[in-house]
């Protein structure tokens, strides 16, 4: 239950930092954006990442993974967040991989996880149906028929769906939107009849899609876990992805903050460095304290998750909520304190703000996680 990355994790983190700085600086995201790249990330960079082992970083060795744990992955996500690296690591590995680990049977795990780890297979989770994260507001239906199910419904904010080979669809086999019971998980081929994927373009220039399922037929073997009992494993998987996303967001927050502090040490106004103005110093000092608190909550959540503590879900909510709020504060201040150049597209600081807002929203914003924390704490 140590609140610090161990030596192995620190070494992983250093590798990640070196890797993205050499291979995927923020400039790479700008190029992908400006060229309206249809993939939205570099297949080449992703190939190297898989080669370096990130595809299987959290999977057990039995499934072709390296078993570094979520703490190891989060350490890397923090670094990936510093350069806003776009890759399917969150969607295919942290999110879909975790769903399979949590819900899949032995055959499914054997078949799918090593392919995800090797980068051969990209899987996306089709979960959301509204404008904000809500994993129980599921209207998409999976109707039982002979030998299988028929899935119908619409999904949004499906990360990397446009390049996915398979989709995990969260659908309802019983109950009403809002119920925990009756939620089931299905593996669906992205090319299956009735699946329509349309890429959406959000402010962060990353990859999301809306996916509609029009009477898509799947066999019984497509079911991940037990029918109607999908929420529990889904929520555990979501928690893994939530803390990894929080770590990524936190990396971006730190980068934006550090760049801002550096700017204050260089920029002169009225003949003096603006970093000498106490008004700005106090705002930076306050941000520093918030960032340190975020770090403690992130490590707290990761440690509890690693140790299998009952409180882990609440602590993951605490970390995602606090990091999201701090991200809003810090990215706004970063833009404001850079002044005129802060609002130009040329300066990269705006990229951090745009990514932050989407990452704040994804998998639950502060509002969602405050509520979840209180619910889990029983008040």
């Amino acid at each position: 239950m140590s609140l610090v990355f161990n030596e192995e994790q620190r070494s992983l983190k250093d590798t990640a930092r070196g890797f993205v700085q050499a291979n995927s600086p923020v400039e790479s995201l700008r190029k992908l954006r400006d060229s309206q790249d249809s993939v939205g990330f570099s297949r080449d960079v992703w190939g190297q990442m898989v080669e370096l082992g990130w595809g299987g970083i959290i999977f057990p060795e039995a499934y072709g993974g390296f078993d570094f744990g979520v703490k190891g992955l989060a350490a890397c996500m923090e670094e990936f967040g510093r350069t806003l690296l776009p890759s399917p690591l969150l969607s295919s590995v942290a999110l879909s991989g975790s769903v399979i680990l949590q819900a899949g049977n032995e055959t499914q795990k054997q078949e799918l996880l090593s392919s995800i780890a090797s980068g051969e297979l990209l899987v996306s989770l089709a979960l959301e149906e509204g404008v904000r994260h809500n994993p129980v507001a599921i209207s998409t239906t999976a109707v039982r028929n002979e030998g299988g199910y028929t899935i119908s419904g619409s999904k949004t904010l499906v990360m990397d769906a446009h390049v996915a080979d398979q989709l995990i669809v969260v659908a309802r086999t019983a109950g009403q939107p809002g119920d925990h019971d009756g939620i089931s998980l299905f593996l669906v081929d992205a090319g299956a009849k009735g699946v329509m994927i349309s890429k959406t373009h959000l402010a962060d220039s990353r990859n999301y899609a809306r996916v509609t399922f029009d009477k898509v037929a799947v066999s019984d073997s497509a079911l991940l876990g037990e029918a109607g009992q999908g929420f529990a494993p889904l929520d555990r998987a979501l928690d893994v992805a939530r803390i990894c996303l929080a770590a990524e967001l936190f990396g971006g927050v730190q980068e934006a903050f550090e760049r801002t502090v550096e700017y204050l040490k260089e920029r002169k106004q009225f003949g003096v460095l603006i970093g000498t103005f106490q008004g700005l110093q106090h705002r930076c000092a306050h941000m520093y304290t918030e960032i340190q608190l975020c770090k403690s909550l992130m490590m707290d959540a990761l440690s509890a998750l690693e140790a299998g503590k009952e409180k882990a879900p609440a602590l993951i909510s605490a970390a995602k909520a606090k990091i999201s709020e701090t991200a809003e504060l810090v990215t706004n201040e970063a833009v404001q304190l850079h002044g005129g150049i802060g609002v130009t597209d040329e300066l990269e600081i705006g990229f951090f703000m745009k990514r932050a807002r989407v990452a704040q929203l994804l998998l639950g914003d502060a509002h969602f996680h405050y509520d979840r924390y209180a619910r889990l704490e029983g008040f």
């Binding site: 404008v131 373009h201 402010a203 009225f270 404001q336 005129g340 130009t344 597209d345 929203l361």
Partner: protein, 399 residues
């Protein structure tokens, strides 16, 4: 009082009769009428509405009739604006001529300058841009380097300006230049008016985080300008510039209304995306945030009205005006952050399918709000001004 009531009724009737229905809807960025030599109208209604306003002097209702205005008093102008707002009439034209340089010429111009420039502004024939900031100078406006050297009856201008909005689409510029390099920084500045078509002027657009490019960096390479184009006295341009900055701050705090082209408010977003249950927003936490915003917004609007009332009663005080830009732009940022939280994904669209035009505009409005607390005097500068000029807090030694 009964005169004003009659006046109000007349305005109301005229607007009802003359403002086309399509001109009573929120205006988009593209449909805004900026005026100028290249004036184009997006629709016939827009042209009709513009022409009718120009004829009555309603683009600049408080200017004297001889310069193209309607000659309204301060009270009449307020009534006119209230009636325009009541019917949601679009402004017939919006630009820096009407907001900034026009009022400055009225105050500081020679009779010749007034006759030359004001009617053209009132009729939307000339579009103006502002040459204040310089690369690297930021908030330290008076530290400007762009120089104007004397050459007989002319100045020769060399240097560069940044954040000149729509310089690439403007006809004339009002520009701060240094005419005496040896004077203390606030002296030796001249406020100069000149044609952007002059030889040696070049404007290069800057892309913003919104994706928009209304700002330019503008370069002057041996541009020749007649000395009589100075507004106010040579080397005393800082006086004029400060006055224009006041106009700008008032305008910036009005910005939200005109800039909010998506028309979305926290309340409308909440009703759409969260919904009412038994007449109450289903989420009480967001509901409180919406209320907070509405109260702050009303407080700001009422502060402007209070200022006018105070001046009318002879107990006015300019210090209240100094809060408007800070409060207006900071609340605007909070407003959009709140809408983002409420509308979630639908407020984060950038392009393509899945988002309405209003939603795509909303994302830009959010980003544009970040520019407003920087442009026209950052929030930090506003706080400095309030602390020192209004509260009388002392300057640090040596500054």
């Amino acid at each position: 009082m009964s005169d004003l009531t009659t006046f109000r009724q007349e305005i109301r009737d005229w607007l009802n009769d003359n403002c086309p229905e399509s001109m009573r809807t929120p205006v988009t960025q593209e449909e805004q009428i900026w005026g100028g030599r290249n004036l184009r109208f997006p629709t016939e209604d827009a042209k009709l509405w513009f022409d009718r306003c120009v004829e009555k002097g309603y683009c600049v209702p408080d200017w004297p009739e001889e310069y193209g205005g309607a000659g309204f008093s301060a009270k009449e102008t307020r009534i006119f604006k209230e009636e325009m707002a009541r019917l949601n009439c679009r402004a017939p034209q919006v630009n820096l001529g009407i907001w900034m340089v026009g009022p400055a010429i009225l105050e500081f111009g020679t009779e010749e300058q007034k006759r030359e420039h004001l009617p053209k502004i009132a009729r939307g024939e000339i579009r103006w841009c502002q040459g204040y900031s310089e690369p690297g100078a930021g908030s330290d406006l008076a530290g400007l380097q762009c120089k104007a050297e004397s050459d007989g009856d002319d100045y020769i201008i060399n240097g560069s300006k940044i954040w000149t909005s729509y310089a690439d689409h403007s006809d004339w510029i009002y520009c701060l230049v240094r005419t005496d390099p040896d004077a203390p920084k606030h002296e030796g500045i001249t406020f100069l008016l000149f044609d952007m078509a002059s030889e040696g002027v070049d404007a290069k657009p800057i892309e913003l985080i919104t994706g928009e490019t209304h700002f330019c960096q503008t370069f002057f390479d041996n541009v020749r300008v007649p000395k009589k184009n100075a507004l106010g006295v040579e080397n005393k341009g800082w006086t004029v510039a400060k006055r224009v900055l006041q106009f700008e701050r008032n305008m910036m705090s009005d910005m939200e209304a005109s800039a909010n082209t998506s028309g979305t408010t926290p309340r409308s977003a909440a009703i759409e995306h969260i919904g009412l249950v038994d007449g109450k927003l289903a989420d009480p936490v967001f509901r409180q945030s919406v209320v907070r915003h509405e109260i702050q917004k009303r407080a700001l609007d009422k502060t402007q009205q209070r200022m006018a009332d105070e001046f009318a009663q002879g107990v006015g005080d300019m210090s209240v005006a100094m809060i408007l830009k800070y409060v207006g732009t900071e609340e605007e940022k909070r407003k959009y952050e709140l809408i983002l939280k409420i509308a979630g994904e639908q407020a984060l669209g950038w392009s393509g399918e899945g988002f309405s035009d209003a939603e795509l505009q909303l994302t830009r409005d959010w980003l544009a709000s970040k520019t407003h607390s920087i442009a026209g005097g950052t929030s930090e500068i506003q706080l400095n001004i309030i602390a020192k000029r209004v509260l009388g807090l002392p300057d640090a030694a040596g500054k």
